[in-house]
């Protein structure tokens, strides 16, 4: 089994909660988490629905291995229609709440409708109830977490929550769990707040049973853990330096998007890198990095726990920010740093704390500030609009002021909460928005990493590195090295990464395991846990089915093949330095082959044959 077989359906309009059985056939076809919830969403929600209206649904979902002893088996996802992109949204988070939900006896929660008043959902094993959120609405996530812990008088509850950014309608608001882990992308927090749902509080004491073959499962998970610990990346590099080790790698190869992706190398990268986080600071001799941290059942422990220099201007007389908390991951450090031209590691850490405290995707926030800085420097935005902020590239003060305003949903922060696409359109320069399908780019310039251009353009949730991380092959040589400047072979590479990632995202496991594991390591763990036969080949079929289901949802929502593209800057303005100097991303040269191997028409539509082959 591994699934609990129980779905909690919460009708926020009526204020009711009800249990229903999980659709086992869909679990067989879509595994769990990302795939399974997308199936529910596609069956129950009209893809053309207003993402922030009561007819949209929000699904919190675990995978079959969530809450088990499998390494990294603590993941959960939030699936809905995105207000940022109009496409399907699926944001994945670690921490502990996913496992807690599973141990309370639930595979997923489906939220529908809209509560007339702010509420939160409390789950204690089989007991679930909606409670008034009067005391926590209008509060930051960190404040609400403290209040809820006091109210429930239970230190072991796990909480996910939205902040003031989501309440103010910020379109890239995140749902933060365990204080600093987040279902971060695509505005899933905005949807949650639009339903007047502030938080979910979970306590589960049942454990996760129902393992099909417990002995074989123990053996398979043990073997998997050995692979992770023996691997130099998952057993050494990631726990020591975290994802931030990439800052110098990507900068050295001149694929570091800089100052709203105008440039490809950041002169301040070494000041905000993973290595820099280890350097003792002059004031107190302590480094920015306090320790690493692990999510539930994780044997990698890549998380960064950091502190801000107490003498830094951002936190003087603000002791609430002196404690160690979730620090800079590579994506946040890039978006808040290189993309805005800011190399002050304390300012970036502070901005990152605010993203955690009030629930904002730091990628979209940082990239939107970067776009605003370019608009400001060209005169399209003035101090009148920014409320007096001198919004220049490289200004740490401007960045942290913007972070405060956007986190609180105040002043110019409301404009920044629109995201880069809407902001640039509003001020007359849509081409300056570095987005795909309305979602901001992550930290790899596709002029120097060609496959990532295709991965971004075809990602079902807009620009994203976690839908097909070909950087692994093109830059890091995992599982084997390919030439980042070549387009040949990239359609196949992108499809392979996309399908395999869809499997991992549906299992309850973390995608970072795939720096050491292949699906051959994952299949035995799923097969020992879940009913039915789960081979690598079948999992790849499931992954491809999930990818096509998401694509089908997006097409029905009104997106077309024309949305599978990159901003003009990346297709027309060549890289100015480095190995890719003189190159643009050749995304449209790769697209026909990609569509063909996907089994789609030249316009990017699913063919009837593909639908039949995948059972769609």
């Amino acid at each position: 089994m591994a699934w609990t077989g129980n779905v909690l359906r919460v009708n926020l309009t009526a204020g009711t909660v009800a249990s229903e059985p999980l659709n086992k056939q869909w679990a067989r076809d879509y595994l769990g988490q990302r795939g399974l919830a997308t199936k529910y969403l596609a069956e129950e929600v009209d893809p053309t629905v207003d993402a922030l209206g009561p007819d949209n649904k929000l699904i919190m979902v675990t995978g079959p291995l969530t809450g088990t002893m499998a390494s990294t088996g603590g993941r959960y996802s939030v699936v809905t229609k995105s207000p940022l992109t109009g496409a399907v949204a699926c944001s994945n988070s670690g921490g502990f709440i996913g496992a807690e939900l599973k141990m309370a006896g639930w595979d997923m929660i489906i939220f529908e409708g809209k509560s007339p008043q702010p509420v939160y959902l409390s789950i204690q094993n089989e007991k679930a109830e909606l409670l008034p959120a009067d005391q926590i609405w209008g509060r930051s996530i960190w404040e609400a977490d403290g209040i809820l812990h006091k109210l429930h008088q239970d230190p072991d509850i796990r909480i996910c929550c939205v902040g003031r950014a989501a309440e103010a309608g910020n379109l890239y608001a995140a749902i933060v769990n365990d204080l600093h882990r987040a279902a971060g992308r695509s505005g899933v927090g905005t949807v949650m707040a639009s339903k007047h749902l502030k938080a979910v509080v979970v306590r589960g004491t049942r454990g996760v049973g129902n393992i099909k073959d417990p002995l074989r499962f123990m053996q398979a998970t043990e073997a998997g853990k050995k692979v992770l610990s023996d691997n130099a990346v998952t057993g050494g590099g990631l726990p020591q330096y975290g994802t931030q080790v990439l800052m110098n790698v990507i900068n050295e190869m001149a694929a570091m998007p800089t100052r709203n992706m105008r440039e490809v190398q950041f002169e301040g990268a070494h000041r905000i890198s993973g290595e820099a986080m280890h350097e003792p600071r002059q004031s107190d001799g302590k480094p920015n990095l306090t320790t690493n941290a692990a999510c539930f059942a994780c044997t990698i422990a890549c998380g960064r726990i950091a502190t801000i220099d107490k003498g830094h201007y951002t936190v003087q007389n603000k002791p609430e920010y002196w404690q160690a908390s979730g620090g800079l991951e590579y994506e946040a450090a890039w978006a808040l740093g290189s993309d805005t031209g800011v190399d002050d590691i304390n300012a970036l850490t502070y901005a990152n704390f605010l993203c955690n405290e009030d629930g904002m995707d730091p990628i979209s926030f940082g990239a939107t500030v970067a776009a605003a800085m370019e608009l400001y420097e060209m005169g399209a935005l003035t101090k009148e609009e920014t409320g007096g902020i001198e919004l220049k590239f490289g200004s740490a003060e401007a960045l942290t002021q913007c972070a405060e305003l956007t986190a609180h949903g105040e002043g110019f922060g409301k404009e920044l909460g629109l995201g880069s696409k809407r902001l640039c359109e509003k001020y007359g320069h849509p081409d300056l928005s570095m987005t795909v399908k309305g979602q901001e780019f992550p930290a790899y310039d596709p002029r120097g990493i060609q496959g990532m251009g295709l991965a971004y353009a075809t990602s079902n949730r807009g620009a994203c590195h976690l839908r097909g991380y070909t950087v692994s092959s093109e830059v890091l040589g995992i599982p084997e090295k390919t030439d980042p400047l070549a387009t040949e072979g990239k359609p196949e590479l992108v499809k392979a990464f996309q399908d395999a990632t869809a499997v991992v995202d549906s299992s309850g496991l973390c995608v970072f395991t795939t720096f050491a594991w292949t699906l051959d390591d994952i299949a035995p763990q799923i097969d020992a846990a879940c009913d039915g036969e789960w081979t690598t080949e079948y999992l790849l079929e499931v992954g491809e089915r999930i990818w096509n289901l998401e694509r089908d949802f997006n097409l029905r929502a009104g997106l077309t093949g024309k949305d599978d593209t990159l901003p003009k800057r990346l297709r027309k303005d060549a890289a100015n330095v480095g190995p890719a100097k003189g190159m643009v991303n050749d995304v449209h040269a790769m697209m026909p082959k990609y569509y063909a191997i996907r089994g789609w028409t030249p316009e990017g539509e699913l063919t009837e044959q593909t639908r039949q082959r995948l059972g769609l």
């Binding site: 691997n231 130099a232 990346v233 050494g236 590099g237 990631l238 020591q240 330096y241 975290g242 994802t243 931030q244 080790v245 990439l246 110098n248 790698v249 050295e252 190869m253 001149a254 070494h270 993973g274 290595e275 820099a276 991951e329 590579y330 994506e331 590195h465 976690l466 991380y469 950087v471 692994s472 830059v475 890091l476 040589g477 995992i478 090295k481 030439d483 980042p484 995608v511 970072f512 720096f515 480095g578 190995p579």
Partner: protein
Amino acid sequence: MCSEASPRSPGAGAEAGTIRLRVKLFASLHVYLPEGAQRNEVTLEVPADTTPNALLERLRVPREMAHLVLRNGLYVKPGERDRAILREGDAFAVWPPVAGG
């Protein structure tokens, strides 16, 4: 074979038969940086025919730890690391197996 380059006036070249390289060892490889290195980087003067592997050997970097090797940002394949491909002014950067996301 290699020495830390002494300060020179801007634009000064290397001695005849030698080249000056900006050598960068990142992540856990920082322990192999010679004295004088700052922010993971040191400028070294080496014989002009020095190969990447010979340079790594002199720096005592275990070969299996030199996973990602970049010359001016371009990947140097393992099969190219015994060739004298380094040139005056090159940036030569090395990482152990690393990943992120």
